[in-house]
């Protein structure tokens, strides 16, 4: 970093909150994706004013600024692809306020998801999107990627819970969006513009989240299917049951086999296993809902249908789903976790298509995911040191994205575009939409300092 910029940054955040040491630069080069690039320095602001001054400086000097939370994003959103200043927001981590009467929580972006969850628990409330990285990811990151999670089917995603934001724009101006009122249609919905914008339009420095009372009881059940298409149909037909399960997860054959090879869970090796959860305030209610779900499973030729009789049994059922990522991570040297999402009615087709792609490119693809909102996670396993496999993996991903789009779906349900999926934006978005996105970007960030190089915004 040029010395005068370094001195200015130190003047803004303090010496102890500026770093350009080798070990920090290496850490800041990465997130949880396969991308890497060194930044020039990192700063840890504590207030929106400091963020504002940093951006003013960067905007003047045309230096990229990359906001960062816990760095657990899967698509390269936090990787400083063009160098610059990493804006590490993890130390801006106060829970500013929890108001049960107003049904909201106000947090700084660095608050870890699980920290908020724990703070809400004594009140009997929760912030429903339940990302798998909850113990580590930050709410700022959740907002930047519109994070989802296992509860998406019934409770939606982060976007559905952001009432308002404080945002610092590229030129340093600070603004507020939204309202503390539970609903508002006053002016453009700027909140929704920023949610999911992956740090390319502004830096979020405060988040007003809507929170829900947390149902106290759950019922857990599962169904196994010899035929993938039956499983897919079961998923699609859940909507006809009249109820929304709070969780509806799927585990594909490859996944089940991998889990069995690496644990002693002894799961049935079938085409698909569906794990369901219903929630409510009385056991009658949750059981009633679960019975409906299991009925749908049966109607679609489930081989085995089971409801957990105890908490321990429920935990066992969940263990399988929770171990999928870890087990698959150990099989090959590399993997890519995709998150293509399609309308519920096309889930069966998507599953079949994934199997075909796996065969076509001769790569192991294990699928699991949030069947309940059509969001699958095909995990493509490959040897990253074999250039041929790397090529085949890239081709498989491309086919996967095309398939999703063909099925009226989207490239990404919750992980974001970042770097990984940027080349495929035009598969999903027509030229006019791309043009509008780029115009918005130019309007709000004319010098392209905010997380440049992401989301195919550079035409």
């Amino acid at each position: 970093m040029e010395d005068h910029i370094k001195q200015d940054l130190i003047a803004i955040v303090g010496e102890e909150n500026y770093t350009d040491s080798l070990m920090d630069m290496v850490s800041y080069s990465y997130d949880a994706s396969e991308h890497r690039h060194r930044p020039s320095c990192g700063v840890c602001p504590q207030t929106a004013e400091q963020v504002s001054h940093v951006l003013q400086l960067a905007n003047r000097e045309h230096v990229p600024v990359i906001p960062r939370g816990a760095g657990t994003g899967l698509s390269g959103m936090a990787v400083p692809a063009q160098g610059g200043i990493v804006l590490d927001l993890s130390r801006m981590n106060r829970i500013v306020k929890i108001s049960i009467e107003d049904r909201l929580a106000v947090v700084e972006p660095g608050v870890v998801y699980e920290t908020l969850e724990r703070a809400l628990e004594p009140h009997g409330f929760f912030f429903p999107p339940d990302p798998a990285s909850g113990p580590v990811c930050t709410l700022g990151g959740n907002v930047a990627t519109n994070a989802g999670g296992v509860k998406g089917a019934k409770y939606g995603t982060t976007r559905d819970y952001v009432l308002g934001l404080q945002v610092v724009l590229a030129d340093g101006r600070i603004m507020r969006t939204g309202s503390r009122a539970m609903k508002s249609v006053s002016g453009y919905d700027l909140t929704r513009l920023f949610v999911g914008s992956e740090g390319t339009l502004g830096v979020v420095t405060e988040i007003i989240l809507k929170i829900n009372p947390k149902p106290t009881l759950t019922s857990t059940g599962m169904g196994t299917f010899d035929d993938l298409e039956d499983a897919g149909k079961a998923v699609s037909q859940i909507m006809h049951s009249g109820i929304l399960p709070s969780v509806l997860e799927i585990l594909g054959r490859e996944t089940l086999r991998a889990i069995n090879q690496n644990t002693d869970l002894h799961l049935p090796e079938v085409d698909a296993m569906l794990l369901a959860e219903t929630d409510g305030y009385t056991q009658e209610e949750t059981n009633f809902q679960m019975a409906k779900v299991l009925e749908v499973f049966r109607m679609n030729h489930a081989r085995e249908v089971k409801q957990a009789e105890s908490e321990a049994e429920a935990a066992d059922l969940w263990k399988a789903r929770k171990s999928a990522y870890a087990v698959l991570a150990r099989i090959q040297t590399h993997f890519v976790l995709e998150d293509v999402t399609v309308p519920m009615g096309n889930v069966a087709e998507l599953l079949k298509g994934v199997a075909a792609i796996s065969k076509k490119h001769n790569l192991q693809i294990a699928t699991y995911g949030h069947a309940g909102d059509g969001n699958l996670h095909p995990q493509i396993l490959y040897d990253g040191y074999d250039p041929d496999q790397v090529e085949r993996r890239e081709a498989a991903s491309a086919d996967l994205f095309q398939l999703a789009v063909d099925l009226d779906g989207t490239l990404t349900g919750e992980h974001g575009i970042g770097l990984s999926k940027a080349p495929y934006m035009t598969l999903e978005h027509d030229p006019v939409a791309m043009d509008v996105m780029r115009s918005l970007k130019k309007t709000l960030d004319p010098n392209n300092i905010l997380n440049p190089g992401k989301m195919a915004l550079e035409g």
Partner: protein, 367 residues
């Protein structure tokens, strides 16, 4: 292609297995108290990957992170990919020492142990008013922290053993020097020889210690294999005492802190709890316990090299004591007692003891 460094030769596959998911950030005590990604397990693996790629060399700039790890193994415990970060760190520290890049506290420690009997270079251990080097059934080995930093818990366990009429002797002990293996050096064989000779000279059939670290060193390190070969059993004091009936009770709310070296590293979780449940009906677990216990921050040499961060980690652990409203927190590791005691704030009214120390106090009060 021959690996330039030993850590790569031994652990290349594992380091590559790190998928950069970052889940270790949830449990790493150094990251938790500093929020600096470079200190986290992932941050360390990323550095080593770049070293293996040839992008960077091992050098002094990396000392601050490679030597700042308590080796608590919480990361390993939680890693979806099964990367054994502490073992990798211990190996890379040896590579660092080989190239002359080491934290001065550890080069210092290695030098101190060439000339002194203990890591603190102290000349006079606490007296403990007991004979040393007698013939006895057991040797009680105190360890450096108990002898020179936390003499009260050390004295208490000896008083307790006396009350229970255990036939033991102290020896003219020297540092087990196990810590050197973890900070880039080797066990000091001059010292280990002395310990073995003096233990064998007592004719003891077992060595009991309150220090989980000495326990691990005697049990696992080849330099101490002769003890096992000669039929001398190594026991942690909680293993030794688990079936005793102490005949005392407390009505205070008590919780237990699993020392990393006893819990995650040795799998000894239940013996201490068995003892505590016998004396404390109101026993509660902290939020993180057993294999999930939060490290007190002292291990892996961190208390010597990075004392401020070490105490900050201990402070985090003590918040969990407050959370469960415990009046007493028990553990069985002098190093944990030391660091937690240093970190305790005056407004925190709970007390910190080794279990043996607490039992001794209860027995004393009962008299």
């Amino acid at each position: 292609m021959k690996s330039k460094y030993e850590f790569e030769a031994k652990y290349r596959e594992q380091i590559l297995q790190c998928s950069k998911c970052g889940f270790c950030q949830a449990v790493c005590p150094v990251y938790g108290s500093t929020l600096r990604p470079a200190y986290n397990a992932r941050g360390k693996m990323l550095l080593l990957k770049e070293v293996m790629d040839g992008h960077i060399e091992l050098n002094d700039e990396l000392i601050e992170t490679l030597f700042q790890c308590t080796t608590c193994a919480s990361c390993f415990e939680n890693c979806p990919s099964g990367v054994n970060v502490p073992e990798i760190i211990k190996e890379v520290r040896k590579d660092m020492v080989n190239i002359g890049s080491c934290h001065p506290a550890f080069t210092g420690m290695n030098e101190v142990l060439q000339k002194h009997t203990n890591i603190y270079a102290e000349d006079e251990p606490e007296d403990f008013e007991r004979e040393r080097n007698k013939k006895a059934e057991y040797v009680f080995f105190i360890g450096c922290v108990g002898s020179y930093r936390e003499d009260e818990p050390a004295l208490a366990v000896l008083d307790l053993l006396d009350r229970l009429e255990v036939d033991y002797t102290l020896i003219d002990e020297v540092c087990c020097s196990g810590v050197l293996e973890d900070v880039g050096f080797q066990i000091n064989e001059n010292l280990s020889r002395q310990n073995i000779e003096r233990i064998l000279a007592t004719g003891a059939r077992g060595v009991i210690t309150s220090c989980p670290y000495c326990f691990r060193t005697f049990s696992n390190k080849p330099q101490y294999a002769e003890l096992g070969e000669k039929g001398v059993r190594i026991m942690h004091v909680t293993q030794f005492l688990k079936d005793f009936d102490f005949g005392v009770k407390t009505d205070k709310r008590v919780t237990y802190h699993d020392p990393c070296d006893l819990g995650r590293h040795c799998g000894i979780y239940e013996e201490p709890r068995q003892i505590i449940r016998g004396i404390a009906p109101d026993f509660v677990e902290m939020r993180h316990h057993h294999a999930e216990a939060l490290c007190c921050g002292a291990g892996g040499g961190v208390r010597g090299a990075y004392p401020k961060n070490s105490i900050a980690m201990a402070r985090r652990r003590l918040q969990e004591v407050e959370e469960v409203g415990a009046e007493v927190v028990l553990t069985e590791c002098n190093s944990c007692v030391h660091n937690l005691s240093n970190a305790k704030l005056r407004k925190q009214k709970f007390r910190i003891y080794n279990t043996t120390q607490f039992i001794n106090e209860l027995m004393e009060d009962a008299e």
